[in-house]
């Protein structure tokens, strides 16, 4: 029986290893990344693009940690940073485009709470991606500031600052919306 050492491995073995490892990474973290991406982007297609781009970056580059917790943080960070890059490019395009229409809920909608919710999500769309990620992770996923800090690779102080600024922006959007209706 012949024993193959790492040094003797053929290229297709290495490819197979990479595929197995990447498959496991995908299986372990896809749901979590999709949930976050869907809440960071305006559509399902955008969310799927973002998730795929994140995994492709993992596929292309070295540096994904081996242990699950650090791998998750690495992927979340890449996902949020990818979204930030997209957001900046879109912001540049918006700068040279006519002012966008403010999307308001249909006047026939009878539920004030539904209107407020629509307004909040509309305002969330305007937040910078990292701030939006902090709000989503804290308010919707119930993550603590320390957990978010680990996931995003920033300090807890910065997390709390983003939380405060984000909440203030959302509250302001809500107040403006109520003012408009009067």
């Amino acid at each position: 029986m012949s024993v193959q050492t790492t040094a003797e491995r053929l290229p297709h073995d290495v490819v197979l290893d990479r595929a197995t490892r990447l498959g496991a990474l995908f299986d372990n973290h896809y749901d979590r990344l999709y949930r976050l991406a869907r809440r960071l982007t305006p559509s399902d297609d955008d969310a799927l693009d973002l998730v795929q781009e994140t995994f492709l970056k993992a596929a292309r580059g070295a540096g994904v940690p081996d242990d699950a917790a650090n791998a998750e943080a690495w992927l979340v960070r890449v996902l949020v940073n990818t979204r930030r890059d997209e957001w900046r490019k879109a912001a540049n395009r918006r700068r040279h485009a006519p002012a966008a229409h403010v999307v308001s809920p249909p006047p026939s909608d009878p539920e004030a709470r539904a209107i407020a919710s629509t307004t909040i999500w509309g305002a969330l769309d305007t937040l910078p991606p990292r701030r939006r990620a902090v709000i989503v992770l804290h308010e919707l996923e119930g993550a603590s500031a320390a957990t978010i800090a680990t996931l995003l690779g920033i300090t807890s102080v910065t997390v709390r600052w983003h939380l405060a600024r984000g909440r203030r922006d959302l509250a302001r959007a809500l107040a403006t919306s109520k003012g408009d209706k009067r």
């Binding site: 595929a19 749901d31 795929q52 292309r60 999500w121 308010e139 919707l140």
Partner: protein, 204 residues
């Protein structure tokens, strides 16, 4: 008083759409792994997720379609209920190109050479796409290689997707396309199932 957290939870997009379908997930998994292998061996750029999401304006009526022979790369003959082929195409006429009619897709002018046909399909699956149903089409390794080669060399041109002798969609090629395609989004569930069953050839 409703809190911001409650308002966010009310409008959470995951409330109504808890996640992308298993087929979409599996297709993405394959693309990512294929990209990793391709990057390692050839430095090839990964295919775009949307590159082969073919928005179709036409729901092909194929109920009761007769079984017809179609081309098979090994030189033999296979039979499939719904003829399927993909060709590289142009929006305008040119010598040597064939005019292919489509309803919503309009007329496109396709190369005589078929890139992939029924014989290159290994399996199909119905999945929800947008407000309707579409088909995930998985090509054989040989078919995927042909798609990759044809699309890599024709970025910027059109891809005519012909189902049941009609151009169902003619998306522009934006990047190399690999082994999985998703068709449609305008089918009812029943239509999608009929097409899915009809596309896969029965070998003699």
């Amino acid at each position: 008083m409703t809190s911001i957290r409650e308002l966010l939870a009310d409008g959470d997009p995951l409330r109504d759409t808890p996640g992308a379908g298993a087929a979409v997930r599996e297709a993405m998994r394959r693309r990512v792994i294929a990209a990793a292998a391709a990057d390692h061996t050839r430095g090839r750029r990964a295919p775009s997720r949307r590159a082969f999401l073919l928005a179709s304006g036409v729901a092909a009526v194929i109920a009761g379609a007769a079984t017809v022979p179609v081309w098979w790369p090994d030189g033999g003959t296979v039979h499939a209920a719904v003829p399927f082929e993909v060709r590289v195409a142009e929006p305008g006429p040119r010598p040597g190109l064939l005019a292919l009619q489509g309803a919503a897709a309009g007329t496109v002018y396709a190369e005589p050479r078929v890139v992939v046909g029924n014989g290159d399909i290994v399996r199909t699956r119905v999945l929800p796409v947008g407000s309707g149903f579409g088909l995930e089409i998985v090509f054989t390794d040989h078919g995927a290689a042909k798609m990759r080669a044809a699309t890599a060399g024709n970025v910027g041109r059109l891809l005519a997707v012909v189902v049941d002798s009609r151009v169902l969609a003619s998306p522009r090629i934006t990047s190399p396309i690999d082994g999985v395609g998703i068709l449609g989004g305008t089918y009812t569930r029943e239509e999608a199932h009929r097409i899915a069953a009809g596309l896969v050839p029965s070998r003699p």
